[in-house]
Symmetry: C2
């Protein structure tokens, strides 16, 4: 008789955003007259930039003609896109990352879930707490996390690095030595980040203890401060210890378009074994390339027109972030993030739990946010609002919150 992967049974409850979705649906059904504003999930609302739309129409037309039709893409991505990424995201910043070190994918969520596969099962992971749930969940499925303690919300074999107001949201080197360190910077959900000098310390630490850093740079486009690194490869020595994941979802509005990439430098090795070769093998065996049309959309992100249009789009969302931040501060909330990231992280008032505040905000202001505890035990007592709504909705939501 076949047996299942028992690790799945260890996962508590359902995915955070499913629970939120159900709660909102129930409220909406009970109060059909209320207009709900969603500042919960990190989903964008602005349409795709004209340069991207144009590139996709052109690519669709190419698929309509046998002379320009494209079948299977190269597993690792089309050269035109890998080169644009290498030139713009790396070489222009002084990072020596070649096109063939870039693996194009259907999005950073897939990559951040799948990357753990190339590591040994008894590797020990460290995560910032709170953080994007996929890192831990995908390692639970792989049997790497030990047992779950429902009382603390913690896994016995995961090293948690609390990021709270007490340490200014800067993760500290853990007491126990991890093998794999997940860093999402700027961080989801806290919207906070660390300086390039602080990141350099993490790179030095990883090289010293022999850990690999899985660096999620999904929110890089929102960085506004000069002393923050746009890529971990700006730090010396990162190519021997770090894998970088990047998304087009937030910088170009591709949440429904699906495109991302992962950098695995050729210098990153375990003994003689190149992780670059391993990830290439994984990609070649269990993935068949991102759609041609979508890769052309990605290329347009790096065109002059695309860059200009997306700069405006990011500015639009960051105006929302500033609106949320100042509005919450006016309303007396303690607020973090929103400067280098499209997320605002607030301390819940009057010792409310994250879910209590979720219910309170939904019922009293009809505004949906995300409970901080959904991102890890140290997120308890915090709450996330996102800047990805429309400006009008954002302003309206803040008016409602201020009126509470």
């Amino acid at each position: 008789m076949f047996q299942i992967n028992d690790n799945y049974q260890k996962l508590p409850g359902s995915y955070l955003f499913s629970t939120i979705g159900k709660k909102v649906a129930a409220f909406s059904e009970a109060h059909p007259d209320k207009s709900i504003i969603r500042l919960g999930i990190g989903d964008v609302t602005q349409p795709l930039a004209p340069a991207i739309i144009e590139a996709m129409h052109k690519a669709v037309d190419e698929m309509a003609d046998a002379k320009t039709f494209r079948g299977y893409a190269p597993d690792l991505g089309y050269e035109f896109l890998r080169k644009a990424i290498s030139d713009n995201d790396y070489k222009a910043r002084g990072c020596d990352i070649e096109a063939d070190e870039i693996f194009v994918s259907d999005g950073a969520k897939s990559d951040s879930g799948n990357i753990q596969e190339i590591f040994a099962q008894d590797n020990r992971i460290a995560v910032c707490d709170p953080v994007y749930p996929v890192y831990v969940d995908s390692n639970v499925m792989a049997g790497r996390t030990g047992t779950y303690d429902a009382a603390t919300g913690m896994w016995s074999n995961v090293i948690y690095m609390p990021c709270t107001r007490e340490n200014n949201f800067v993760p500290e080197f853990p007491k126990e030595t991890p093998d794999m360190i997940y860093l999402c910077l700027p961080n989801n959900p806290t919207g906070t980040t660390i300086t390039k000098a602080q990141l350099q310390e993490w790179v030095d630490y990883a090289n010293k203890v022999g850990a690999v850093i899985i660096y999620d740079g999904a929110y890089e486009a929102y960085i506004t401060e000069d002393n923050v690194a746009h890529s971990i490869y700006e730090c010396e020595g990162a190519k021997t210890c770090a894998i970088e994941l990047k998304s087009f979802s937030k910088n170009a509005g591709f949440t429904g378009v699906r495109l991302g990439y992962t950098v695995v430098p050729k210098e990153l090795k375990c003994g003689d074994v190149s992780l670059h070769g391993m990830w290439a093998r994984r990609h070649g065996t269990k993935f068949n390339g991102a759609p041609y049309i979508i890769q052309r959309a990605g290329e347009a992100v790096y065109s002059d027109a695309g860059k200009a249009q997306l700069k405006e789009q990011v500015a639009y969302y960051m105006k929302n972030a500033a609106t949320i931040k100042s509005g919450l501060q006016e309303a007396g909330f303690e607020v973090y993030g929103g400067v280098n990231a499209p997320y605002i992280w607030l301390k819940t008032p009057e010792k409310m739990t994250s879910w209590e505040f979720f219910d309170y905000l939904l019922e009293k202001a009809n505004v949906v946010g995300t409970p901080g505890s959904g991102f890890g035990p140290s997120g308890e007592g915090y709450f996330r609002l996102t800047a990805f709504g429309s400006y009008e909705n954002t302003v309206a939501a803040l008016e409602r919150i201020k009126a509470l």
Copy 2:
């Protein structure tokens, strides 16, 4: 110090089609004057059907307007596509598969590589031999296959079910009981299939021994004989033992568009645990939905115009299949497949190995095919040609082969 997943080190050599690509590139460089005809990889060459192109342009335009813009898709697929699949591929054939049992993905290669994740590591797999290499390779990466014997090309913990001319390419129930049985029908690479009555015997066997069948129906659109099932769910009892994988690559030319789906019936359980719930969790954690534009393209496959256009496209390729089959027979080859599948499987002449015949055909006829041994040990002494080229190239290739 982090460690790697050692199972990757067990994988012999590179992926079959990479090796072929390198050999062809080397030949091409040495003989720049020769015009090479590629009937090797199963990649389509006909442009996308007009109904699909139209649907994609429309979807692209929707993404350009905030009012119709779509962000994150539902993880498991848009309802409009899941319903079209349920209605057309299942209910129209009398199979009671609901829309919510269908999981839309970025292609059957991803699903066929990832599906093993929800099963226990000590499950034993059975595969037809020869077969699509992803089934075995993805299980090697998961540590499920034991050790590799380079002399036989076999893994110690894989149950091989030889499909050769001796058994008319019909897999026999293995002596040892498997937990997971991979069936690709019509089969890649042999282009052969089994009758619905024979498939029913496999369903009965799986239910009896408690095995799960992972049924890859990628070539279903090419079935021409009435006694062949288009879905395993045409067989009684399949919903308690079978997962079905489907691709849009071959029936609609989506190799570069990327769309597929997997059916996990709610009745399929291991004890109390629903595999449907497990696959939903996997999809929700490590995947973020197929692109909206691509899902609209998939929907167009089921429109009246789409169906009519794709019927012609499949007929075009099957005319190639008939051309290859009759041409090879005229040239004195022993030939199989090509009736319910776009693949022709030939016995190599004069006891040549598969790779010897590959080199012979490349050098003497400048035609690229695929060595049968690349698909498993029982593929040795066979060779695959595909019907996915243009008609003109197919005719020209056969003229060259007949002239040898």
